[in-house]
Symmetry: C2
């Protein structure tokens, strides 16, 4: 069942080589990383790290999608981060994990044992610097999301999520066709609800409404076409051009 697209073993062939925490490393530094890295795969639905657990590794998502979630005692859950390929997992300098990390799809991770990685960080400014930039980007994304959670309507929330996923895909697929964007939703309705602070019924209703109004086209339950990205952005409440990040 786990058919990981996982056919490289050294960093130079790595699909996230130029975007992950190792992006700015030179050949020597990469060699040091090679020594402490190992790959792990996780099936969709599996928990990668439990909140409160000791973290003994950090690493990068190579392929697939993982999510960070917080859960209250009574079961209410909120997704607080979506980890895409090249995103970093774990926190140098902290013992215990603050959130659950779950594999939303099948996931391949490039892991580093925590202690050696921390040592390497202290001697390799390229890594520390890159990690700071990535963390600042994540902080911006988290704050962007706070606006979505705090002030947007259900319809705007769905549109916001779709536009984030669409934009991510757009950055991977050619940019010269901004006309119509096509992608598969990597999340179930329930996962979307957890991300958006909604119930899955509301998610379903709003997706149906956006479909009825022609903002999106649906084929099956997951295959989405955005005929007019500008229209979607308006529905999301992010007027026009304002670019924000995943």
């Amino acid at each position: 069942m786990l058919k990981a697209q996982f056919d490289h073993t050294n960093c130079s062939d790595c699909p996230i080589r130029h975007r992950a925490v190792c992006a700015h490393c030179d050949a020597d530094e990469l060699e040091e990383l090679e020594d402490i890295k190992y790959y792990r795969t996780f099936e969709a639905g599996q928990t990668i790290i439990w909140s409160g657990d000791q973290m003994n590794f950090v690493g990068s998502v190579v392929s697939g999608i993982a999510s960070l979630t917080q859960t209250m005692e009574d079961g209410r859950t909120q997704m607080v981060g979506l980890l895409l390929p090249s995103d970093f997992v774990g926190r140098p300098g902290r013992e215990a994990a603050p959130y659950d990390v779950q594999a939303t799809t099948d996931v391949v991770m490039c892991c580093f044992r925590k202690k050696p990685f921390e040592d390497l960080m202290n001697t390799t400014p390229h890594i520390a610097h890159r990690l700071l930039q990535m963390t600042l980007d994540e902080l911006d994304a988290a704050r962007e999301w706070m606006l979505v959670l705090g002030r947007k309507t259900a319809r705007e929330k769905i549109a916001s999520l779709l536009s984030i996923i669409a934009r991510r895909d757009a950055s991977i697929t050619p940019k010269d066709k901004p006309a119509s964007i096509v992608f598969d939703l990597p999340l179930t309705r329930e996962a979307m609800a957890d991300y958006l602070g909604l119930t899955l019924e509301t998610v379903s209703r709003q997706i149906s409404a956006l479909k009825k109004d022609g903002v999106i086209l649906l084929e099956g339950k997951r295959h989405v076409t955005i005929p007019d990205m500008r229209r979607l952005m308006e529905e999301a409440g992010d007027d026009s051009d304002g670019g924000f990040l995943v």
Copy 2:
């Protein structure tokens, strides 16, 4: 009107010396910082940085409280960060500011011109490392807040905010009296609403309700006493001991 508690000019006397971005700097490094630093004061209500503006400085909050806010075209606003003394403002490596930064109370900032600070960061691992830790802390706080915004009830939101403010004060005032905590709210009802994703009427109603139920005591509109911190934490939905940061 602006009576800044601002009676130091060199770093060794600085009240945030041990907690700000300069915390780990040694004497030599501090001297370099002294050369590029300058102080600015802002009155309550003043905007320190406008979203989209070129940022030509970064810096630390020395005293007072500032807030990061995002605003939609139709006027809906969401506060996405609360900056307390020692918190860092600005983002090395980015040109434009992503949010408005506003002085909630009178604020004193220790500013560094951006370019020299970036240069210094590249040559001073102590600063870069400290900034990474602070950014990771802020990211944790932002994600904690996402749970509040996405999944908590109005009453729980208010209790969460009060417990954050109480905990911050507790970390400044002596710890040996966990029995009853007293502080002044540094935010208007409207600012609380913007932070919590509520309306100011709902904030007012829930504060009244918590008062009526004996969870808090109010003297005037701003002076709060928490007779039983554990009770407040329960109301916030953060069961018992689970510690989280400002």
